[in-house]
Symmetry: C2
Subunit: 229 residues, 2 copies
């Protein structure tokens, strides 16, 4: 992966502070990239995620951890950003109310801009199309379409650079992600996955995200290090 002699290739890593993106950062580092971690402050309910992201970025050797603020809360339409919509504690059919409209598109777009400024074409995103909540912007066909658009959108693309959106978790089960992360030294007690975590990063244990996470530890046969309320 290292194309410059003596200098590792840079990559932008989308880091939420949850289980998946912490594993993602560990994988990118193992592949030899110099990791530029990017998080967003978008009026999410679970802002303790950002504290988690900061610790994870430091512990897993990110070169820089950048936090970009966007007032998505102003837009409404999701239980994760609109305080008037409750986070459900039962599994839903179809796409749930925790879906944030166009979220991964907004995040990948900003990652694309930063990648261009850094002069790199590698971006990592921890989308998963197996143990997930049915969000449309987690599917391989979406990632392919984003990549094609990115190559047309940018000065780098016009100049012949081809962006590579890495999705190493896309076909992994939650249990496999956890096993891989433990192999790479991820401390999952630091990660916050819960949609309704309290200000100390303690999880509710009831939302979709908590259920997928707890089931993953169970399937992996590993004691769940999550701190619950």
């Amino acid at each position: 992966m290292n194309t410059n002699v003596g200098q590792p290739t840079k990559a932008v890593i989308l880091l939420s502070g949850g289980l998946d993106s912490a594993t993602l950062l560990a994988i990118a580092r193992e592949r030899g990239f110099a990791c530029y971690a990017l998080s967003f402050n978008y009026a999410q309910r679970h802002s303790s995620e950002l504290n988690a992201a900061e610790k994870i970025a430091a512990n897993l050797g990110a070169i820089v951890h950048k936090v970009i603020s966007i007032d998505l809360g102003n837009m409404g339409g999701s239980a994760l950003t609109d305080q008037s919509i409750p986070v459900p504690d039962t599994m839903s059919d179809g796409i749930p109310v925790t879906y944030v409209p166009a979220r991964n598109t907004v995040f990948l777009s900003l990652a694309l801009g930063w990648a261009e400024v850094l002069g790199t074409s590698d971006i990592f995103i921890g989308v998963n199309a197996i143990d997930y909540s049915g969000y449309p912007d987690c599917r391989p066909e979406y990632i392919d379409a984003f990549t094609r658009m990115a190559n047309l959108a940018t000065r780098a693309g016009v100049e012949g650079q081809h962006f590579n959106i890495h999705t190493p978790l896309i076909s992994m089960s939650k249990a496999d992600i956890i096993r891989e992360g433990l192999r790479l030294g991820v401390d999952y007690s630091q990660t916050v996955s819960c949609y309704a975590a309290d200000e100390h990063g303690r999880a509710c244990g009831k939302c979709d995200s908590c259920r997928f996470r707890a089931a993953g530890f169970k399937q992996a046969g590993i004691a769940d290090p999550t701190r619950y309320c």
Copy 2:
């Protein structure tokens, strides 16, 4: 264009406060859309644009004018957001330093999210591939790729909705845009196109954007109402 009896179809209109986007809003209104104008506060040098956008939205009958803040300035890489890079006063070869990495992609992504919240599939953007500065994210092939990605990215897309990114200005000369806007009642003295406008919205008269604008008024045979420093 009006698909609901008695109720106009909503559209999100990207409104910068410049000449092109003011004309865009007037065109969308003439086509019968209920216009939801969207502007961005992204640490741009020319923040007097936002004051202009507010006046234009009100005067051209936007239902709502939303301003989303993003701290793109934090990312660097463009003379429009990085105070350490001067805005050039001569025309450049290739893509100029005023190019903001992935800007239209970030803006369209946020417009897409708001469109989904509003329950509409219509978005207007004032890109122009004729009298423009050579930005890659102003070309028709880019808009097509964004649309394809948008249909895969969203709940609305999964449920069969097809997004329509309207680009009515894309093949128009600056003179044609000005003529069309005047026909539709746009007051161009309110618009701010300059990359280095002062806090009162007065233009420098030297940057690429000022040159294209001045040449447009000249070609259209119309007195230039721009307020210069």
